[in-house]
Amino acid sequence: MSETAGASQPILCVTNLMRDFGGVQALRGVNLNVMRGSITGLIGPNGSGKTTLFQVISGVDAGATGSITFDGEPILGKRPSKIYHRGLARTFQLSRVFPELTVLENLIVAGSRRDHRAHERALGLLERVHLNDYADVVGKNLSYGQQKLVEFLRVLMSEPALILLDEPAAGVNPTLRETLWDMVRHLNGLGTTFLIIEHNMEVIADLCSEVYVLSEGEILAHGDFATVRNDERVLEAYFGKSRKSSVA
């Protein structure tokens, strides 16, 4: 479990967030607070709206109503680059490295224009995950796991206060996965806040101090993992009414 001392103030507040796509309600009045310095999990069955929520928070999807404040500032409707420079970064469910840019360029482009040490910092990050030999390799020539790792390192270039990770370990081999989670723990120890979508419940149980469960666009339950795991509504959402008793 992550260190939660001093994590009493929310860094991200999502209030009554609604998003519909031509009559299909993807988000139905979502309320969610991410505490500063925490690692918060966001779980839910496929199609429950988790990635849509990330799209809206990060500014990619500008069609939602409600309110989102990050570090006390409203960010709903702001363009993604502005939100990023305010300190909120995200990764994608499927790797989105720039395929024809080198690994080093992939990282440098994500740093601030005013950062004159971006080159050194990018090399330092690569060294930390033993990818420094790949600095000049173009993104498309990396394995999928390496691409996911580079995408994660890329968002670290701006030293964000909050990072949204969308299934960061999906398709990643166990060794790289461990490297990734170690980095998350390390950065969290230094004060970075995380909101993570993850299907591996062991990881959620191990890393997250608080967990939100999203189902059909609504927050079904939240609390620590043990509380959420035993919530009947959660079991029902995941496994259906008929099987909930046997799984619990």
Binding site: V60, P80, S81, F92, F98, P99, V109, A110, N141, M157
Partner: protein, 319 residues
Amino acid sequence: MLNNNRRRVSLGLGFGLMLIAMTAPLYMNAYYQSFLLQLFMMVALAQAWNLISGMTGYVSFGHTAFFGVGAYAGALLLLAGFPWWLAVFKGAGIALLLAVPLGFLTLRLRGPYFAIAMLGLNEVGRIIATLWVDLTRGGDGISLAPKLLPSLHSNYFSMLFLALSATLLVAFIHRRRFGLELRAIREDEEAAEMVGVNTTVNKVMAFMLSALIPGAAGAVYAMYTSYIDPSSVFAPALNIQMIVMVLFGGTGTVWGPILGAGIVMFLREMLWAQFPAAHLAALGVLLLIVVLYLPGGIISLFRARQQRARPDARTGAAP
């Protein structure tokens, strides 16, 4: 080490080409000077197209609109009594100013929608030039009296200057953070925006710079030919030539448009003399072969050679 060698070769080659181009009027007759002038124009135009379409991936089918605007602005300003160099300067400025609102409007579109919008823009330019008879003399075109025109040498060196400026601009941008951001937009615009790249500002900046060069080239072209009409300067075929040359040489690179313009112009001149009826078809077949078998253009042959020379040949940075 290899990068240093590559830089030295590039600089040496560039210097050699410049020396030939600068001294050519001393020993070449008017025919060859005219050929080189047109080559410089195509290098400048291809580099301009490369700047927006090669580096950001926004394929423009209407960059001749800026060429046409520059040509008309240059010709009209010359008729109004401005010295030729100031008319060129102002023609480029007008094209650049026009690119600001047009960039904000059209660069919201992506892929084929942007391409079609740009094609439409060129057509709008051609129709305005045809119908606004009081200003442009419509389909009759504008003839410029010889006494107003600069000499062939002045036109020659103006086009050379434009080709050189456009190439240096692309090379400069390629090495800067701005170029990296443009390439990130080309690779994945949404992901670029997500890592802090203000994609709108970057695209419009690139669009403005890429309009400036055709604007100036259009004005010099008007003075070189001494006659323009809507169909000659708002010609979609000219835009196709820019695209062909960049594809032929190598998209998004510094040397690609120079190589493409040089080879295509040379082949066109050779084939035109030998096969006046079929030279365009022959060029089309050649382009098809290059696109099919060398999607990175002729420049990719050199790049592949350089990579073979490296023990860990895994990179793909553009030369």
